[in-house]
């Protein structure tokens, strides 16, 4: 997750810091290429940019298996992708995941952050707890939820005495996607809340005090004062969680449901994984990867528009 951590912030702020006046002209040396950056740049080009460029190229190749000689396919991979029901099922699942999961996550995270910055009793314990999901790896989280959601697991064990019938949450087509989203909410809300709280902490308490004296209630203070102030920052956190949901859900899906039952939990990023490493339909896989990449950029643009600073 940390690899993505900063995507959003750098995209949200234009990375054009104006140089301090007069510094550049002092010695000609500084105009030279920053040579010490070269090893990092080469490393980065080989291991990150190279594979992404290769992904784009492979998207236009016909390459039905590792041992087969690839040939040029033009746009036919994309034709196959768009004609494939599985792709549309995966696109639908990713859409549900983001359109439902993301707003729920951000609103709850904002309310939590708002509560924490009021410094109620126990807020220190709460801050400590909120960080925990950010520390736990995807496999560990998945294993805990695998135990909770299995037919004999904690959830059904709690529901049974209440007279409710549980189900095999991960194996039932109508609950499996919801279960995956729930796991993502579980791990995403706490970290988002902590980040938003760090921004809300900088709001001067006098302003809030004044509003309270004027008779503003919590609800109005939260949505009328804190939200507008933190709005662009919440946009940054939203982008971060958006990319994490869009790209990293493959891990959770792989660990918990392998995309099933049927295609009910196949998300786009899991489809990229599955087509590459299970079905070895490499051109198809990388074409979906490219589509995902474009969707990621589009989504960031939308989030930025919706949550643009309002002041």
């Amino acid at each position: 997750m940390t690899a993505l951590t900063d995507v959003a912030s750098s995209a949200a702020t234009t990375p054009e810091p104006s140089p301090p006046p007069g510094r550049g002209s002092r010695t000609p040396l500084r105009e030279r290429f920053p040579g010490f950056a070269l090893p990092a740049l080469v490393w980065y080009a080989v291991f990150m940019i190279g594979p992404v460029v290769a992904m784009v190229l492979i998207g236009f190749l016909s390459w039905p298996g590792m041992l087969v000689e690839p040939g040029f396919a033009g746009l036919s991979n994309f034709g196959r992708v768009f004609a494939d029901e599985k792709f549309w099922a995966a696109a639908g699942n990713s859409a549900v995941q983001i359109v439902i999961g993301l707003p729920v996550m951000m609103v709850l995270a904002f309310l939590l952050a708002f509560y924490v910055v009021q410094k109620p009793r126990g807020h220190k314990v709460m801050r400590y707890l909120l960080f925990i999901p950010a520390l736990i790896s995807a496999p560990a989280t998945a294993m805990v939820f695998y135990a909770i959601l299995n037919p004999d697991g904690l959830l059904n064990g709690v529901l049974r005495p209440l007279g409710l019938d549980g189900t095999a949450w991960l194996a039932n087509p109508s609950t499996a996607l919801g279960a995956i989203i729930a796991v993502e909410l579980w791990s995403g809300i706490g970290y988002s809340a902590v980040l938003i709280a760090a921004r809300l902490d900088s709001v001067a308490p006098e302003i809030v005090q004044a509003a309270r004296i004027d008779g503003a209630g919590d609800w109005r203070i939260a949505w009328g004062m804190y939200w507008p102030i933190a709005r662009d920052f919440i946009g940054v956190v939203t982008m971060l969680q958006f990319l994490s949901m869009l790209f990293n859900s493959a891990q959770t899906v792989l660990l918990l449901t392998q995309g099933g039952p049927g295609t009910s939990t196949t998300t786009l990023s899991y489809l990229v994984y599955r087509k590459a490493f299970v079905e070895t339909d490499l051109g198809y896989s990388q074409a979906v990867g490219l589509i995902l990449f474009v969707l990621g950029l589009l989504g960031m643009g939308v989030i930025r528009r919706v949550l643009r600073a309002s002041h």
Binding site: D6, A37, L41, I58, G289
Partner: protein, 283 residues
Amino acid sequence: MARTALRPLRDRVGSITSGALAWIYCALLVVPLYYFVVSSFKDNEQIFESPLALPGTWDFSNFGTAIDQAELVLAVANSVITTVAALVLTLLLALPASFALARSNGRLGRFVENIFALGFLIPSFAALFPTFLLAAALGLFHSRTFVVFLLPATALPLSIVILTSFMRAIPRELEEAASMDGASALQVLRQVYLPICVPGIATVLLLNFLSFWNAYLYPLILIGPDTAQRTIQVALPTLKVDAGTDYGVLMAGTLFTLLPVYLVYTVLQRQMQRALISGAVKG
């Protein structure tokens, strides 16, 4: 929450709901953790019968089984080697780069900086398959070595952004004084910049420690199932079996996986929280 007794009912209801919401979420955080910790001392029958009860006896045999079955000690050793080597390599690459970028304010420097900033947009995961081809082409497939090479590349953008912003804050007079004494650029980096950047380096180390230790898909695909090489995150899910998982053993293994991170978090709680926050806010 209630600061004055005179507030209207609607507000009191409002603050009660937001408080209730917050504590419900905290309960939802704690209960699964409690459940999995107590489960690691039970057998399947006890887990299914009374999921939330404390174990009758504190029986550590599940831990032994998990460690034997998935060769977790070896896996932890592999994770430690991979993580430490990748952390060192990241700093070796990022420190000089940040130093150069912080000192340069020409167009080229800004261009290089933007290239790294673009990295935040690269969905490295989508390019997993070409990365796998690269490993094969370098003859490093199915080895830890390639992951040690790869992980620093994934961490460079964030590390460089954080370190550069630290180094920019260093007054140039300090450096000019050192240069006047005839110090080379490398000496300036070592003797002037590094000591001042210790907090930034700590932040970068903590953030990267978390992401390297917790990495899953890269090690899974690139190192593969070989028990002599695989990391703890890859070893853990092998305890889940399609037919008849022993949940006690699985939870014991999970607990074992989390201990190192949890130890670091407990000891360095404040620094870790600051690192995680600045990791998202910088840039």
